[in-house]
Amino acid sequence: MDVLHLLGDILQVARGAMGLDSEVISRVDSGGREFVVALGVALLAGISSVLGRWAVLAINGVRGGRLVLSIVVASLVPFILYTLTAVAVWGTATVVLGDAPSLGRVVPVVLLATAPHIWGFLVLVPYLGPGIERILSVWGALVLWTGVAVVLDVDRWTALGISVAAWAITRVGAWLMARPLQWVRDTIWRLATGTPMQLTVQDVLDAFPMPEPDPQEGQR
């Protein structure tokens, strides 16, 4: 398979998904090479999102080989998250509709919801970055909604209900699994970066506490 050709396909499909183009999205649920294309979209979004969160790596002083490893690991995160969302969509559809397409067809379509995050590097922009991130998340949700309608062949309101239910299931699952997930996250972080825990900006501020008040000051 020609890599450049594949990259062209990935960008074309990502563009279609971002434009909420049902026809482009419907091409992805046919499996085979299309799965690779959807996977490519998710990986591209992952890499871009890592660039957008460069500050986290910089604050933690991650450099060299560990930096590369961190980027690789973090790039896989959207793929994992959206695969779990796809399982939730598939499960909800099976319960609600009684009949759902195979999981293998649902996964690539849901992965396309990562497409807007190809712009994730823009989150690096000072001050506007967090707002851009929220816009990308809402945009991704719209792609998911469109994709669910296409792959399940249902009307848009049923698709919206299933998308919201799947999102809620994923959230509840994340909440229930918070501690083990945190352990997994910290372990991956430790292996990838060599630092014991992830420092946040608040940690940077907290490292400079106010000095203890001088007891003699009160006696003055």
């Binding site: 500050a55 910089a58 002083g61 000072p126 000095p211 003055r220």
Partner: protein, 354 residues
């Protein structure tokens, strides 16, 4: 035309994307270790003098650190209007030492024309700006972007840690003795106010009483406001630029009751002082020695009087005794040579007004 606009947008986006990298790279390389090392050294120095108390005797010493507006290009460059005002304050406040060599738009105090691969570009921009060519104002845009970096709660704390170190180094160069913990006031003009506010968090952690005088300052709801002893915001009624802080940073909106800024306002640690009809820059600005207030003082003298009075009233400096020097700490710029119009590089080069 559309191609040009797209090109400008792309350049600005690329500049925005690259803007946090300098401070993040500094932090990743050495900043974290250096910041902690300096804090440790200071606490050791204070520990060796356990009886030294924060200075409260106004005659015994107070430090005023000046942080310039967005037109500056380095710690060795001050627009002439700002220089004249600092000279006047120096005279009006005999117990105050003025520190004026900190460049607030770099976490490493690296001026735009010093030790940078892009130094040649900024030198050229400065020349163009002095001739009034619009592209020369890239310097101002670059510094505005650094202001945005400082106001971003993801990058700001890292940036401010670097600037606080540079302010600390400036204080030491000016003879500051850590064990005495003399009070420090940051005097910041325009965009320098946000940079100053960010550094307060770290300077206060060193045990200093830090105050901030903002002259037409643009500030966000920065964590530093939680630790500032007092923030005086001086403004003119025609200064629209300083409103940017109020409008664009939601933490400063009245609705954000629990923001650090609004809490400081409620506690009386932030106060606003309207001193006249000053504009932000150019003629009729805070530094204009030609424009006259109704009471007969120039705008520049009004600004100087206000800053000096605030510092004296706060008990940080006794001020001039009755019958002091003939100039009385007023601007010594000759009338007709507006102090705000011709910024002068301390190295002797002439630049434009802001």
């Amino acid at each position: 035309m559309i191609e040009i606009l797209i090109g400008i947008v792309v350049i600005i986006v690329v500049a925005l994307l690259l803007s946090p990298l300098e401070s993040l790279a500094w932090w990743s390389r050495e900043g974290q270790a250096e910041s902690r090392k300096r804090a440790r050294q200071l606490h050791q120095a204070v520990g060796e003098h356990p009886h030294a108390l924060p200075g409260t005797d106004p005659s015994s010493g107070h430090y005023l650190v000046f942080l310039s507006g967005i037109a500056t290009i380095g710690g060795d460059y001050l627009p002439s209007g700002e220089r004249a005002i600092l000279d006047a304050l120096d005279e009006r406040l005999p117990a105050t030492r003025v520190v004026r060599d900190v460049f607030p738009y770099s976490a490493e105090n690296r001026g735009l024309t010093a030790r940078r691969p892009t130094a040649w570009l900024w030198r050229r921009a400065r020349r163009l700006r002095s001739r009034g060519v619009i592209i020369g104002y890239a310097i101002n845009i670059r510094n505005v972007i650094q202001l945005i970096v400082s106001a971003d709660n993801r990058y700001g704390p890292v940036y401010s840690a670097g600037l606080a170190q540079q302010i600390w180094a400036g204080l030491l160069r000016a003879g500051y003795r850590p064990a005495e913990r003399r009070p420090v006031t940051l005097l910041a003009w325009s965009g320098g106010a946000q940079m100053a506010l960010g550094s307060v968090w770290y300077l206060a952690s060193l045990g200093l009483d830090v105050r901030l005088v903002s002259v037409g300052g643009v500030m966000a709801n920065d964590p530093g406001v939680r630790r500032v002893k007092h923030l005086w915001h001086i403004r003119g009624t025609k200064d629209r630029i300083q409103l940017i802080g109020k409008v664009f940073f939601p933490g400063r909106w009245p609705a954000a009751r629990n923001s650090a800024w609004n809490k400081a306002l409620a506690e009386g640690r932030v106060s606003e002082h309207v001193i006249g009809t000053m504009k932000h820059c150019g003629s009729d600005s805070y530094m204009d020695s030609d424009a006259m207030a109704p009471d007969g003082r120039s705008f520049a003298d009004t600004t100087i009087d206000t800053i000096a009075d605030l510092i004296v009233e706060a008990g940080l400096d006794p001020g001039l005794p009755e019958g002091g020097p003939a100039t009385g700490g007023r601007l010594r710029v000759q009338r007709g040579e507006s102090a705000g119009s011709e910024p002068v590089d301390l190295a002797g080069e002439v630049g434009p007004g802001r």
